[in-house]
Amino acid sequence: MLPKKNAPSNLGALLNKKDTVIAILMIALIGFLWFETTEFEKVPDLFSNNIPPEMFPQILLIIILGMILIIPFEHIFLKKNGKNIDSGRDKPIERSTIGTMVILSTIVASSQILGAAITIIAISIALPIYWGEKRLKVLIPYIIGFPLFVIILFNIVLGVHFEPGLLALIKN
């Protein structure tokens, strides 16, 4: 009976939980991409010189899959070399990082409506304030000066096209 009881904990020691999750996610992705390769348009052998378009991606997917299967067990080899794969991820992701991701994704999502100039100003305001910059003496010149510098440099001097967005509506 004893070995049966010990079995799950032994397996638990062999597998790194986080890496197992990563491996499962990547295997699922590989499965999806493999399916996608089977949906590529079929080309006659003569036209494709016997190298069909799905051949190379499929070879890559097989090699990647083979490597991913080792990932959950890799921590054992790394530990022997004095490396800890969990060292960077033992703490949960900081709230400030998640907030930064959300803010930037929201700004990028709304940038087509806002237009380039307002987007630049929004980033210059939102990120420093979210990160806790409270010194108005520093913040106000930055919020005014930096976007102005960027617009002059890229739009006027370098000729990068900036979508007007909301500014066009205001003008009209």
Partner: protein, 494 residues
């Protein structure tokens, strides 16, 4: 000689010199700012230099690359925070020397040894690159395939937590390179019906996302880190007597750095660490290491700058990048319509000599800039992160957008940033992915052509001794953790 003169003629235009010096200035700045890096700056620069003349654009990036390596040592010495990974070993003795009241001397030793290492590797570059290119001209698709496989296998030994994860990153990069229309058959691959994906994923937004945006997410975790700074009024050049004492260390490290730089995928960081270890091993004053030893500064500095020059050899001669930064320079060359590799040197030697000249100017430029601006550069590390990183994101957005005036690219950049952040958290490095992405086309093209030539018989590839050699090297590279361990154990037991 005629080609050298032509190259210098291309380079020595006022606009080009200004751009090279701007590249040096940006390089030293980003090198001095912890978190910012040369690959990130080059990635941000690519979209804005697309409209420039290729000589000017590539020279500017090459100058930035050289100067960025030196810039990292400024903060390593003055605040014990390497501005760039290659300066990690410099901090070990640079910071103690600065703490002992000699920050100017530490900076001077770092600058002079960096210049020496850089110029040494450029001399090797000027001889080795044409020779290597001459050799590579004999290569057919099979040999190129062998070379590309070897280069991919070298990704395993790039810095990072795990060789296996580096290889996976590299192969994922190659896989991303297959997105878009297949050149041979015209079939759409992994486009999911989106017209934006038909051309494939553009390099620029991926590079910016992986290097700049993911770093922004990482930096958002440590916004309130406070560092202690040592005042440096000026950079103090070492005396001739001191240089005489250090000449063997500088020479040895320059050789080590150049050799490591030439190896595909081995970067300046590895060179600097080996340079430091070798300086210590050969030193008569081993006990001084860690306490401000001059050899502990010149060893890694000569090596990391020499590696920067060395890495340009396979990049230009073979089209195989020697490091993350040179992978970006390679991407820029492709975007400017060049095919990096032996034909670049045989058909446009003047262009290669112009890049060589730009790197030479850059090496002398950062010594000059370091001499007059050490105090200023020691201050830039104190630009508040809360203001610096929003600016980096704005530059990233504009850079990604302006490349093809496409909002889709901005989304790609953001997605690459998020993926890069989670990759890094889980031990997957971004640099191998970028190198895989850039090498991807070469790998697939050479594989397909070889298969067609050899009638789909993979084993027929092994009939070529060069392919066989590359495959043996690939095997040795992939199995190196085992045999290095075996030989180390044997040496220890003796």
């Amino acid at each position: 000689m005629e080609d050298v003169a032509k190259g210098l003629g291309l380079l020595l235009e006022f606009e080009n010199i200004v751009l090279i010096l701007s590249g040096v200035l940006i390089g030293v700045l980003v090198g001095a700012l912890p978190g910012l890096s040369s690959p990130m700056a080059i990635a941000l620069l690519i979209p804005f230099t697309i409209s420039l003349d290729p000589v000017a654009a590539i020279s500017m990036m090459a100058a930035l690359y050289c100067a960025g390596t030196f810039g990292g040592s400024i903060t390593a010495i003055l605040i014990n925070a390497p501005g760039a990974p290659p300066a990690v070993a410099t901090a070990l003795d640079g910071y103690p020397m600065a703490k002992n009241g000699e920050p100017g001397r530490a900076l001077g030793l770092a600058a002079v040894s960096s210049v020496f290492g850089g110029v040494f590797s450029l001399i090797i570059f000027i001889f080795a690159a044409p020779l290597l290119a001459q050799l590579a001209l004999e290569f057919g698709p099979a040999e190129y395939f062998g070379l590309a496989v070897f280069a991919l296998s070298m990704l395993a030994s790039m810095s990072g937590k795990s060789s296996l994860r580096n290889l996976i990153s590299g192969l994922v990069g190659v896989l991303i390179g297959t997105i878009g229309i297949h050149l041979t058959t015209g079939v759409e691959r992994f486009t999911f019906g989106s017209p934006d994906l038909e051309e494939g994923i553009h390099f620029v937004p991926v590079l910016i996302g992986l290097f700049a945006v993911s770093e922004l997410f990482k930096q958002s975790e440590k916004l309130n880190n406070v560092v202690e700074r040592i005042q440096a009024k000026a950079l103090k050049l070492p005396s001739l007597l001191e240089l005489k004492k250090l000449k063997y260390t500088i020479l040895r490290s320059s050789g080590i750095g150049t050799f490591i730089g030439i190896l595909p995928a081995e970067g300046s960081t590895v060179a600097a660490i080996i340079g430091y270890n070798e300086a210590r091993r050969w030193s008569k004053n081993k006990d001084q290491f860690g306490k401000g030893s001059p050899e502990g500064i010149v060893g890694p500095e000569a090596a990391n700058n020499a590696a920067a020059g060395g890495a340009m050899v396979p990049t230009l001669a073979l089209g195989i990048p020697g490091s993350g930064s040179t992978a970006l320079i390679l991407a820029a060359l492709i975007m400017h319509g060049f095919r990096p590799g032996p034909y670049l040197i045989s058909e446009t030697p003047e262009f290669v000599y112009a890049i060589f000249g730009a790197m030479l100017i850059a090496n002398l430029g950062f010594l000059f800039i370091g001499l007059i601006g050490a105090k200023f550069f020691s201050l830039v590390a104190f630009i508040p992160k809360k203001l610096l990183w929003p600016a980096v994101f704005i530059f990233s957005m504009i850079g990604s957008y302006s490349f093809a005036s496409s909002m889709f690219d901005v989304w790609v950049m953001l997605a690459a940033g998020l993926v890069g952040y989670f990759m890094d958290r889980n031990g997957f490095s971004a640099a191998p992915l970028v190198m895989g992405l850039i090498l991807g086309k070469l790998v697939e093209e050479s594989f397909s052509q070889s298969m067609i030539i050899h009638d789909n018989n993979f084993f027929a590839l092994l009939e070529s001794p060069v392919v066989l050699l590359f495959f043996v090297l690939t095997f040795l590279s992939l199995s190196s953790p085992f045999w290095v361990k075996f030989f180390t154990k044997k040496a220890v037991s003796k």
